[in-house]
Amino acid sequence: MNARSAQSRLRSVATTLAVALTLTLAAAAGCDSRQEPDLQSVQEKLRETHIYGQSKLRIGVATNEPLMGELRNGQHVGFDVEIGRYVAASLGYEGEQRLEFVSVSTEDRIPALQGGTVDLVVSSFSMTEDRKKLVSFAGPYFVTTQEVMVPTRLKDRIRTIEDLRDPAYKICTSGGSTTEAELEKHQVKTFVVKDVGDCVDGIRKGRYDAVSSDEAILAGFLATFSKEFEIVDMPFGTSELLGIGVPIGDPALRDLVAFFLQKSYQQGRDGQASPWQTAYNRTLGPWLPAEKRQPQPLDVPKLVDFDDKAPRR
């Protein structure tokens, strides 16, 4: 009898505890459901950027790098342009009325960002430590290597870095590029011009003998003049990480651009058609010797967005 009453008392204490705990948890759940999210949202981040409320977004692009950034019949086309369009649309700028492409040459990319003439630069911009002191980078959105392109007539004569050092050959590259620094490191004397396009023109006119730049840019010229040039694979040993340039004073915009690149990367990894893959297939894809995938962006912030609840599979 006693044991039974003790058991019953224990039972009712357990019930009391269970009821109390359930009520506590329910209250906690209620408070939780009314709480502000801990993580910052894309919209909040957008309010911190300098572009918030701006009627137009200005993106600096190249106009004479076929496949990457080119002005064709008054239209900006190319891989960089498409990436720029995707980032702009994600930031809320879609359509010609709200998006302006500003042409920037290789050497003007940093001054344009510093001077505020453009909000973003998507123009085969290699992310380097030196540049990171002057501008911020979101990315990389493309990994490429340095290559040399020679006219078909010289394809058997210029094969190695040693050949490039031969004073008989005039090697051309664009000013302010990472290639210029890399060639200098290998003691290759170069002729520095404004853009890679000028080098290609120069070679066609007989002024230079070879041009060095990154693979993506050279592939563009190879696509345009496929009979006249050939790309020579040389072991420069450095890979170029192309990123989107953002003014150094706007970390919120950098974070947002990185977030949207990551979103595209995630889509591609999940086997969906990502904006990056679409841009790549339409431009560079058919012209590169080996297929490339979107590289994982670095320093991506954790943000919440409206589509976070959508199924991933």
Binding site: T15, L25, L39
Partner: protein, 396 residues
């Protein structure tokens, strides 16, 4: 609670009151059964002719205790059912009208514009979409607490006769309504809070573990198997929650199934009164607190309309489209004020999510986001791709 006409109130205080209602409090002596022919018992008790008497179909006399009134269960049910349907129709109607006022930004003319253009069916449907969660939460809380208090009532200290309010409500409610409330909660609660439904269900139907099997060993095996199945379902989520330091989410997923094992059964006598009073106030407070966002949830969908002449500059108007006719599109702007936009100037229109829809957690249970309800989760599977239009990012 009840708004039914008080038929006995017509009788003066000096009139004799017919038995067996003699000691019923005047405020609660309410009956919708007003069509009983007068004077059935009036002869004996001296009931004035012509005044309808509030009599049950079958008067209960035998089990009347001295000093206490027992209502006829049939009448009670009729009364409860009437109150229930009054609440079911009335509360959403009142809330909907209140919401229109809030939606209009407190402006009388804007409210009238909305009243003129938002149909009652749309309003009610819109209300139910946003309030189903609140409604089911209130009902589940009342039924679960009512059942717990109901089984414990025998242990009340002597002298307290009156059963707690929730226990009386739970007694009156038919089982189908309790089940329907739980079903509604199952479909509309966010997945993260769904485990709480388990102890609530066990409490509401007082399902002791003994019901699983009469012998101890198979019963334990069954419980272990059930918990293992649940564990398999939520283990990846628990790992993520641990990684993200979401302790509340961890507790909400792990603790309720364990509590469900112990929650059925009577409470100690000492606890019942305080628990009844505290929970009554708490449930009321919860309903008021949770009703505020429901009142302020928009009635109309949020859109961004691009307005501008052909080849001219455009402007994005963020707001809710009230109506469109041949001449104008009427937009209630998000920041307040009504814009009449000529239809030929409308260039584009997109539907936008509102910031209240942003998730607070980054946890999923087998690809279902924990803040989605089962219904929402299934919906997302039907239309998995969700694109946020660029125009939605524009400042409001």
């Amino acid at each position: 609670m009840s708004t039914a006409p008080t038929v006995t109130s017509g009788a003066g205080a000096d009139d004799p009151v017919p038995p067996p209602r003699a000691s019923a409090p005047t405020g609660t002596a309410v009956s919708p059964v007003a069509d009983v022919p007068a004077g059935v018992e009036a002869g004996a008790a001296g009931w004035p002719a012509g005044v309808p008497a509030a009599e049950p179909d079958e008067p209960v006399v035998a089990d009347v205790e001295p000093g206490r009134v027992r209502w006829d269960p049939a009448e009670r049910r009729a009364r409860a059912s009437q109150s229930f349907w009054t609440a079911v129709v009335g509360v959403p109607a009142i809330f909907s009208v209140l919401r229109l006022g809030v939606e209009a930004g407190g402006e009388l003319q804007t409210t009238l514009l909305l009243v003129a253009n938002v149909g009652p069916v749309n309003l009610l449907a819109g209300f139910l979409t946003t309030a189903a969660r609140l409604l089911s939460t209130g009902l589940v809380a009342v039924f679960a607490l009512g059942a717990v208090l109901g089984v414990s009532v025998d242990r009340l200290p002597p002298g307290t006769r009156r059963r707690p309010l929730f226990a009386r409500w739970a007694d009156l409610t038919p089982a189908w309504l309790v089940l329907a409330s739980f079903l509604l909660a199952l479909l509309t609660w966010p997945l993260l809070y769904l485990p709480l439904l388990l102890p609530a269900f066990v409490a509401a139907f007082q399902l002791r573990p003994g019901r699983l099997h009469e012998r101890v060993a198979p019963r334990l095996l069954l419980i272990v198997a059930l918990l293992a199945g649940y564990g398999w379902l939520v283990l990846p989520t628990l790992r993520d929650a641990g990684g993200q330091g979401e302790l509340l989410a961890l507790a909400l997923i792990v603790v309720p199934p364990v509590l469900a094992l112990f929650i059925a059964g009577p409470l100690p006598g000492l606890v019942i009164r305080p628990l009844a009073s505290v929970t009554e106030v708490a449930v009321l407070a919860m309903l008021v607190w949770a009703a505020l966002p429901v009142i302020s949830t928009p009635v109309l969908p949020l859109t961004v309309t691009t307005v501008g002449a052909e080849n001219g500059p455009t402007e994005d108007v963020r707001g809710h489209v009230v109506t469109t006719d041949d001449v104008n599109m009427v937009i209630l702007q998000e920041r307040g004020g009504v814009r009449y936009v000529p239809v030929e100037l409308v260039r584009a229109q997109v539907l936008c999510p509102s910031e209240e829809e942003l998730p607070r957690h980054r946890l999923r249970i087998h690809d279902f986001h924990v803040e989605d309800s089962l219904l929402e989760g299934m919906g997302r599977r039907v239309r998995p791709v969700h694109r946020i239009d660029a125009a939605c990012r524009a400042p409001s």
